[in-house]
């Protein structure tokens, strides 16, 4: 706690510098760089924001209309991810390495689970981590990756390579522009899917 404030300041400062730097770099690179998976992943890493606001809609065969939630996504290198739902209820998943801390206000639950027990969550987390840490090799080891479109408007499709992953996830589809993600859609093998839209106005 003693170091909380200066540390946070430092991190904000560094992020800011990084953002500036990457922006400048991107501006220089535009005309020459060929549009590849490696390029995209590198760009995603560079332009990664400390937190993103999102809105997510879940479509399920059990439901007549999609369910919506809003919240915040955070990524702290190297491996900590947080998905916090803020509306219509408060719930938090903090994924640190293999451990998932699950906190739900409404259900009064706070417990730690293992990612391995939830394979669906695992493949999703893998995709995220690899994308945002610029690890194209790892991404392509786990997923069949297809990149389409232009640097201004791209779609990035991930299909699990292994049967185990396929039984959990049909595909994960990112869309975006430059190093920024616009939507993340996850489709499950039974046809249920969720679509997460990253809200732009939240960038600070």
């Amino acid at each position: 706690m003693i170091f909380g404030r200066p540390l946070r300041k430092a991190i904000t400062g560094i992020s800011f510098l990084l953002l500036l730097g990457s922006g400048a770099l991107a501006a220089v690179d535009v005309p020459t760089a060929p549009w590849t998976i490696d390029g995209l992943v590198a760009l995603l890493k560079e332009q990664r924001e400390p937190s993103m606001r999102f809105e997510e809609a879940t479509y399920s065969s059990l439901l007549t209309e999609p369910l919506k939630v809003r919240g915040l996504l955070r990524f702290t290198p190297p491996a900590t991810m947080e998905k916090a739902i803020t509306e219509p209820f408060r719930e938090r998943y903090v994924i640190d390495g293999d451990r998932v801390l699950f906190e739900s206000e409404r259900k009064g639950i706070k417990r730690s689970i293992s990612l391995e027990d939830y394979p669906a969550l695992r493949s999703f987390v893998d995709a995220f981590r690899a994308s945002f840490t610029g690890d194209a090799a790892r991404l392509q080891k786990v997923y069949d990756v297809t990149l389409e479109g232009t640097r201004r408007q791209w779609t990035f499709l991930l299909r699990p390579r292994e049967a185990g992953g396929q039984s959990m996830v049909d595909y994960i589809l990112f869309t975006g522009s430059e190093g920024r993600v616009a939507t993340i859609a996850i489709r499950l093998p039974d046809g249920d899917r969720s679509v997460m839209t990253v809200l732009r106005e939240s960038t600070r």
């Binding site: 997510e56 879940t58 399920s60 065969s61 059990l62 439901l63 007549t64 209309e65 369910l67 939630v69 998905k83 739902i85 209820f89 719930e91 998943y93 390495g97 293999d98 451990r99 699950f102 739900s104 409404r106 259900k107 417990r111 730690s112 689970i113 293992s114 990612l115 391995e116 027990d117 939830y118 669906a120 969550l121 999703f124 959990m168 499950l188 249920d192």
Partner: protein
């Protein structure tokens, strides 16, 4: 001559028969449980059964170490799967899904009888609405795909609740789906063996298979190791220790005795001859114990070698009195009254062990009594005949007589020593009595530490704290269990205990099940409530038909009991938590991480719940041992009294009692002080050895005070006594080096005792008797 060969022939025949019987009939056990008493109260019996066969005794703790967390996790996954396939285990827990598909289906079908959520309000519109909203949350969560399947049949989440109960309270930390120590250096597993923890042979096989399975893991990196702990592992170690110790102790002791006898008398014939009563005594002892108890324990057998130290006194007495004038039969006739009295008093001492009611001591007692009597009789009737007619052991140094006479001038040292010993005892920091039974366990400290560490990592019960719930029927016990669930939960949240395993948390009583069935609504009512609750919620129409069907079915479903889950992992667990013994039913509730035992005992007593009691297994077994110790102590005292009476009658004089009894009793006080000064507290086994010391002391004193004709005879007697006590001290000295605490206790006590007895008897010998002679 012909008589001599006849006797030898008969003896040989008897020995061959005896050895044949011993080889074919005798079964040697090394499970410590076989030495534990039966217990006198129902609770004690239950506890001892628990120790022997209960689930806590069958828990095996395993850890894989020596790799990075990912390697460990992968090895644990594969290891767990392969161990499950060996068939040795009821349950293998490593954090991966504990319940099989079959178990889960059974639990799913029985969910409305098993679930604690089934209450009269559970199916009201409000409750249903709340449940449905929670299911919507579930669908929105990242975990949706895992539980989606159960929603149409179980919108109230009854099944998930049951699974949560079965998963237990928070387990150890996990990495890649398996349990890991907090620092991620060990992958942790818990196994419940089918064989009981004390079944050392079965446990040894299991542990071998575990090692083999581990060696054969595909893709296992060479640096990984597996470590094991738990009662079963201890049992195997104890068995191995006992077997190894018995072997080297007997070898060392017999070699030393043989060498010493040879050095003292320089005669191979004499050494060979002394083997005759010795071997006969041991064979007879083994056969007697085996036919009386049905088996002989390794420790009793180990004690057999201590007989070497006592029994060889008889042939030595015979040999030491042999001289040119008397033939062996004549000599034995002359010393027989003294020897007989010595044998008689020693037998009285040991037979009191038979009365102690403690199997370990009773075996020792029977072994010693039969061995001693046999050896004495063989010395009297066989050995004396077998001695070659012209056989005379070497001359003994005559100087020994004045030396002993000098010793008697130091008579005053004896009371001095007793006073000193008393003061030492009074001022000693070492507690006089050993009350912790665990200190008698031959398990090494390193192993105990490992066990403690693994238990802490795993949050496994430490085989110590139990709640016992008793009742005349299984139903009573289950109801009594249900009655204390909320109190137990309070203890857990109040951090009085870290966790508990109560059968009623898994299996409700019939009464509860019937109550649940009665609150299950009729289909029309439920359908109506559900429709109302659903209004405005985006669930697909008709989605919950499986739910309506399931409630319908549950209303007439047969009751669930232990048998419903027969031969499943769930059934095994129930069977170990709810047991029947002699028509009495008990639930055993292992408690984890008890914070304050005394306080807990008070709290549980304060519940005034019928049939429910908190038991500290360790305390209980210590109490049991203390009770047996006190009883043995009383027996020793009575034995002493009887011996005094027998002596008075045998010696036909009370005045002789003083030089015979006093040295021995003074020696006892000094022995206690010396053992205490060596940093040891007295246990049941030390007390039992007092009897041995008494026997030895009497023997020495009787011979020292025996009226003798000539100075040469006197010298022979004294030399014989020196040899006797030296062999005794040698044998028990070897025993005192044993790593088995029981044998160490016996050895130390007897070695010191033997020395003090001889010294004091020599100092207090009645000079007058010899002066007159």
């Amino acid at each position: 001559m012909s008589r001599r060969f006849g006797v030898m022939g008969l003896w040989t025949l008897a020995m061959v028969c005896g050895l044949w019987l011993a080889a074919t009939q005798v079964s040697v056990h090394s499970e410590l449980a076989d030495l534990l008493p039966e217990g006198t109260t129902a609770t004690q019996r239950l506890l001892l059964t628990q120790v022997r066969t209960g689930v806590a005794g069958r828990l095996m703790l395993l850890a894989i170490e020596g790799g990075d967390p990912d390697d460990l996790a992968q090895a644990s996954q594969e290891f767990g799967t392969r161990l499950r396939a060996t068939g040795h285990f009821n349950i293998i827990g490593n954090g991966a899904q504990a319940l099989s598909k079959q178990d889960q289906e059974l639990l799913f079908r029985s969910r409305y009888l098993l679930s604690r959520q089934v209450t009269p309000e559970a199916f009201s519109v409000e409750s249903l609405r709340q449940s449905l909203e929670q299911r919507l949350d579930d669908l929105r969560s990242p975990l949706a795909s895992m539980i989606k399947e159960t929603i149409p049949g179980d919108p109230t989440g009854a099944f998930l609740g049951i699974l949560k109960d079965w998963a237990g309270q928070e387990g150890p930390a996990k990495h890649r789906g398996v349990w890991m120590s907090e620092d991620h250096t060990k992958a942790l597993l818990v196994a419940e063996t089918r064989a009981t923890g004390f079944d050392a042979d079965a446990q040894a096989t299991i542990q071998q298979d575990i090692r083999k399975t581990f060696e054969a893991l595909p893709g296992r990196s060479a640096s990984l190791r597996v470590v094991m702990s738990g009662p079963g592992v201890f049992a195997v170690e104890i068995k191995q220790t006992i077997e190894a110790e018995i072997w080297w102790l007997s070898t060392a002791a017999s070699t030393l005795v043989v060498l010493f006898l040879y050095a003292s008398y320089r005669s191979v014939t004499l050494v060979l001859l002394s083997v005759i009563p010795l071997s006969t005594g041991i064979v007879a002892g083994v056969l007697a114990v085996n036919s009386w108890f049905g088996f002989i324990h390794g420790i009793t057998l180990g004690f057999g070698i201590t007989l070497l130290g006592i029994v060889d006194d008889y042939p030595i007495h015979l040999f030491s009195h042999l001289n040119v004038r008397g033939s062996a039969p004549a000599v034995i006739r002359a010393i027989w009254p003294t020897m007989r009295l010595g044998v008689l008093t020693t037998v009285i001492g040991f037979s009191s062990l038979l009365l102690s009611g403690f199997p370990a001591l009773a075996q020792l007692g029977l072994f010693a009594v039969v061995g001693l009597v046999t050896a004495a009789l063989v010395t009297r009737y066989v050995l004396s005949v077998c001695v070659p007619p012209a056989f005379i052991p070497r001359d003994v140094p005559q100087k020994i007589v004045p030396a002993v006479a000098q010793l008697t001038r130091a008579k005053w040292l004896v009371p001095g020593a007793v006073v000193l010993a008393t003061f030492m005892l009074l001022w000693s920091d070492t507690p006089l009595w050993q009350t912790d039974l665990a200190s008698l366990s031959p398990v090494s400290d390193a192993r105990k530490r490992l066990d403690e560490q693994l238990r802490q990592d795993l949050g496994a019960p430490d085989v110590r704290d139990l709640l016992v719930i008793e009742g005349p029927t299984a139903e009573d016990v289950l109801q009594r269990g249900e009655a204390v669930i909320s109190q137990l939960e309070q203890l857990r949240t109040g951090e009085m205990v870290a966790g508990y395993d109560l059968v009623s948390s898994y299996l409700p009583s019939r009464r509860s099940q019937q109550a649940r069935q009665q609150v299950l609504p009729e289909r029309s009512v439920l359908e109506h409530n559900l429709q109302t609750a659903l209004s405005g919620l985006p669930f697909a129409p008709g989605l919950f038909t499986p739910f309506l069907d399931a409630i319908d079915a549950a209303r007439t479903q047969p009751m669930i009991d232990r048998d419903t889950f027969k031969s499943t992992a769930v059934g095994m667990k129930l069977g170990s938590l709810l047991i029947e013994q002699q028509g009495q039913w008990s639930a055993v509730v292992p408690l984890r991480g008890v914070a304050d035992r005394a306080r807990l005992a008070e709290i549980v007593a304060g519940w005034h719940a019928p049939g429910v009691a908190y038991v500290d297994l360790k305390e209980e077994s210590n109490l049991l041992m203390t009770a047996y110790r006190d009883r043995t102590l009383a027996i020793v005292a009575w034995g002493l009294l009887v011996i005094a009476v027998v002596l008075a009658v045998g010696l036909k004089s009370i005045s002789v009692l003083r030089p015979v009894l006093l040295p021995m009793m003074s020696a006892l006080v000094v022995v206690v002080a010396l053992v205490n000064a060596a940093g040891e507290s007295l246990s049941l086994f030390h007390v039992a050895t007092f009897l041995l010391v008494i026997g030895l002391g009497l023997d020495y004193a009787l011979f020292l005070n025996r009226p003798e004709g000539t100075g040469e005879e006197r010298a022979r007697t004294l030399y014989g006594l020196l040899v006797c006590s030296a062999t005794t001290i040698l044998v028990f000295g070897v025993l005192a080096c044993s790593a088995i605490p029981v044998l160490h206790a016996i050895g130390l006590t007897a070695a010191i005792g033997s020395f003090c007895c001889l010294l004091f008897a020599g100092m207090m010998a009645d000079e007058g008797a010899h002066a007159e002679a």
